[in-house]
Symmetry: C2
Subunit: 263 residues, 2 copies
Amino acid sequence: MRVIEKIEEYRNIRPELTEPVGFVPTMGYLHEGHLSLVKRARNENKSVVVSIFVNPTQFGPNEDFKSYPRDTERDLNMLEPYTDIVFMPSPEEMYPPNYDSWVDIEGITDVLEGAKRPGHFRGVATVCTKLFNIVQPASAYFARKDAQQLLVIKKMVKDLNLPLEIVTCPTIRERDGLAMSSRLYKSLILALHTYESGERKAGTIRGKMTVLIEQEPLAQIEYISVADTETLQELDKIEEKALVSMAVKIGTTRLIDNVILED
Amino acid sequence: MRVIEKIEEYRNIRPELTEPVGFVPTMGYLHEGHLSLVKRARNENKSVVVSIFVNPTQFGPNEDFKSYPRDTERDLNMLEPYTDIVFMPSPEEMYPPNYDSWVDIEGITDVLEGAKRPGHFRGVATVCTKLFNIVQPASAYFARKDAQQLLVIKKMVKDLNLPLEIVTCPTIRERDGLAMSSRLYKSLILALHTYESGERKAGTIRGKMTVLIEQEPLAQIEYISVADTETLQELDKIEEKALVSMAVKIGTTRLIDNVILED
């Protein structure tokens, strides 16, 4: 496994990588969820590239870029058995002075996370475009957990004709001991069961979830959404399919999660 | 020479092209200037791809996308001796329904053409990103005539790490019989001579050019600029180098031209 910090250095060795190249972009501080993406990339490609980059441009002014957790040594040990190249640029390498170019995906970024975190998806779309252009993979692997982010990236790849495939993988839920996280998860299960028992009114599903989460005294709900899976517009009545997603704050910790309802 | 209208079809045959691939993006209605780019691409590459696409997203609401001149048969005849593939997509192929992704270059697009034509460079940057992603060339060839456009594209390629080289070629000035065009040209020569004779005040150079162009009764000056060649900020005093550029309307015809002043 080779660790590369410079774009130029990566470009020079890129022709030596055996095709196809599978790519897993991460912000580091890896857990089993990331590793399941890396293992899948390993199974489906001849070369595996993982990036570790805490992207400053996707954090808002009141969000904690500086205190985002980092543990490079542990990350590298976890990746070693499955990875050919770890690309780990500095913020200055990715955004040199006078950096001025941005990728904007309109429409689906106006709601949910996009509404709560202005500029967030501009940062995500821009850094993904840059990483894809640098790494030049045949496929990039993403977890379904960040549902809106995944939709934004897939839309960008389609609209801008980026020459790679986006592979989506099931969310691996960690037992992280946070009682609230499990209550969030229970509220998604409740949405699923309510839908399976025949309920099609989005408002009823939102209401049942809200009641369950509000039993947690510290919880502050930012949104509970039952939306179209493509446009992310809120639904009144579910026709065939819906994305249920939510963001909840407990103190300074902000949790998001989602599930798809489908016939 | 093969003419391809669908992105999917191009993607399928892309692996068959011998590397390196040189690319010349055009809006059609070709003249000697375009052809000099195509010939240079031919000399420097094993395969040559030319796109013909009148890009609707770079025209403003009061600009004439519909009446932009087109002559495909003549274009194809001109390209035939030098070109392997002509990529000629429809607007719907490039911008399908619900298209929502845009590339924005900030800073240098706020002035000159960007100020006069809001949204123009967003359209240019977006279509170039798309075409580069589709064609996947080693190099793309541009004339220096549209100085600001070239700066925008080079900045975009650098910032977004697009994996290709931008090759810039001298402007071929056509004898198009427009007396005014020659007067514009004379005002650039005047700027050059004034600079060469030692004048370093940008205002003096702007003034001399203005006086010359205003001798043409129908001319309406949109801007005459003496600016930094990187940031495009207007200069008071020229240190080492400056971009002199101008836009002049004569009736409904809008002409732009530029020259670099350099020690």
